[in-house]
Amino acid sequence: MRSTGDIVTARQRGRMLALELGFTGGDVTVIAAAISEVARNIVEHAVAGEIIFAETQAPGRTGLVVIAHDEGPGMLDAERIAEYGRGSREGLAVGLPGVRLLMDDFEIESTIGCGTTVTMTKWLR
């Protein structure tokens, strides 16, 4: 992940896997939106990063997991920043708080100077 063009690629990969796994309608759009948010974070704040897509299995269900990792500046108190109504400087629920609301599972790990990893999952309904 280096440029805005890569955001498009990431969305495309994510969308393809989502459709392959059987996601439909709004869920595919929601997954693409979440990818857009984590991807634009990487492009804007980290020099480079990567986004990994994978199928995940849990008892009785299948999901799409997206791992967005960068070696950017990192942030303090990432958990709090990604919480709805707290970190978002733009108000409403865009940014990481929005991603958290759109996806089913959401985890963030960040260390100052080492970078940030967001792991998020959408489960097939």
Binding site: V30, G85, G87, E90, G91, A93, G95, L96, G98
Partner: protein
């Protein structure tokens, strides 16, 4: 730290809106919703957004991107749709604004307007879906916040009702303590008066008889006996005074005014401070517990005057004003500035708290007004109860007196 989730605008080095926000309390997640975030500020600054009118640049960008997407297709167009929706959302526009923008943009695309190309229509629909997804996130956020608000509302209501229950329990408790105290005082008062007082009287009579016996008819014996009679008489006085202070029989037997008069007289004799009592309240208007409150406040206030005020004159005034009985104790002492509750030692504080508590228990108001050099006014207002709720007590009242000096007529409203 927050830059990561922003879109780079914060890197300008200017203070961001968030930095001006007060620290948020993690216990009140809903509060932050109402605080001006940058998104909210932007939408307010931008008059167009407030009217639901989209800026020309956003509308133009949307039309151009949609046209390109319909022509070229692909993920790049959808990503742009997402970004445009995000922009609209952050600028404070609503879902319908975006839907209308989409509708107008479609109308400007001939192939869609004419329904001539199914593919174009599908592409355009997909574009709209992507553009709407930021609104979906916002919508879910509001829904969740609403749920949290409801929860905290329920929680606070529960806390409130619990604290009301606790307050009521405390009230009952202090009422019981004060009632028990009054009963105990009355008991001690009777014991002192009846047992000790009677015994002393008997001793006095015996001494009188003793002095008349021939065996004792020597000068030294007589002098000793007379001394002892004198001592017993003084002790009787002291015992009666203690009994009166503990619980004046008069309060129960002769009524509030008589008891207050006796209290005031005793105080003046003991301290040398001039006290005037102006009573203009028919005792029958007050219930027994209210009479006790008024008596105890007057007693405690007079004690405070003697201890702290360096006063030479005190007025104790009792009157009726509308549906209330008012008691004021005004002294010409040195007064004080700060609330005595904060500066005085504990014992004094306890006295004031005790008075306040008693007054509170009969739903009254307690107030102290004081300025250095201007004396102190203790004022109590007690709402009179309708006769049915009053406990009838025989012989508890004095006839109305009409002895208010003219100088005081202005404050008390005559009956």
């Amino acid at each position: 730290m927050a830059e990561v989730i922003s879109n780079g605008r914060a890197a300008s080095g200017k203070p961001t809106a968030r930095e001006h926000l007060p620290a948020t309390d993690p216990l009140l997640p809903a509060v932050t919703l109402t605080e001006p975030t940058l998104g909210g500020l932007r939408s307010r600054d931008c008059g167009a957004a407030a009217n639901g009118v989209l800026s020309a640049s956003l509308a133009g960008d949307y039309r151009a991107a949609l046209r390109r997407h319909v022509d070229v297709g692909g993920e790049a167009g959808l990503q742009q749709a997402y970004e445009l929706g995000r922009r609209a959302c952050c600028e404070g526009h609503g879902v319908l604004d975006l839907a209308r923008l989409h509708q107008e943009s479609c109308a400007s695309l001939p192939s869609i307007a004419a329904h001539s190309h199914a593919h174009d229509a599908r592409a355009s629909d997909a574009f709209l879906l992507e553009a709407l997804s930021p609104f979906e996130a916002t919508h879910r956020g509001f829904r969740r916040a609403h749920g949290e608000l409801q929860q905290s509302r329920t929680h606070f209501q529960l806390l409130l009702s619990e604290s009301r229950e606790m307050e009521e329990t405390l009230r009952q408790l202090s009422k019981r303590i004060l009632d028990a105290q009054e009963q105990e005082r009355a008991h001690f008062s009777r014991e002192l008066h009846d047992e000790v007082g009677q015994a002393l009287n008997a001793i006095s009579i015996n001494l009188g008889a003793l002095s008349r016996l021939s065996e004792c008819n020597t000068a030294p014996a007589k002098a000793k006996i007379d001394d002892t009679i004198e001592l017993v008489a003084r002790t009787v006085e002291t015992v009666h005074r203690f009994a009166r202070e503990l619980r004046p029989a008069m309060l129960d037997e002769l009524g509030l005014e008589a008891a207050l008069r006796a209290c005031v007289r005793g105080f003046a004799e003991r301290t040398g401070i001039t006290v005037e009592f102006h009573g203009k309240l028919p005792g029958k208007l007050l219930a027994a517990d209210q009479r006790t409150v008024i008596y105890r406040v007057a007693q405690e206030s007079l004690n405070n005057v003697a201890k702290h005020a360096s006063a030479t004159h005190v007025d104790v005034i009792l009157w009726r004003e509308g549906g209330q009985a008012i008691l004021e104790i005004r002294d010409n002492g040195r007064g004080f500035t700060r609330s005595p509750r904060r500066v005085e030692p504990d014992r004094q504080r306890l006295g004031l708290l005790g008075m306040e508590e008693r007054v509170r228990l009969v739903n009254g108001k307690f107030n102290i007004e004081s300025r250095p050099g201007a004396g102190t006014i203790v004022r109590v207002e007690i709402p009179l109860r309708p006769p049915s709720t009053r406990t009838p007590e025989a012989g508890g009242n004095l006839p109305v007196e009409d002895s208010l000096p003219t100088t005081l007529q202005k404050q008390p409203i005559p009956l």
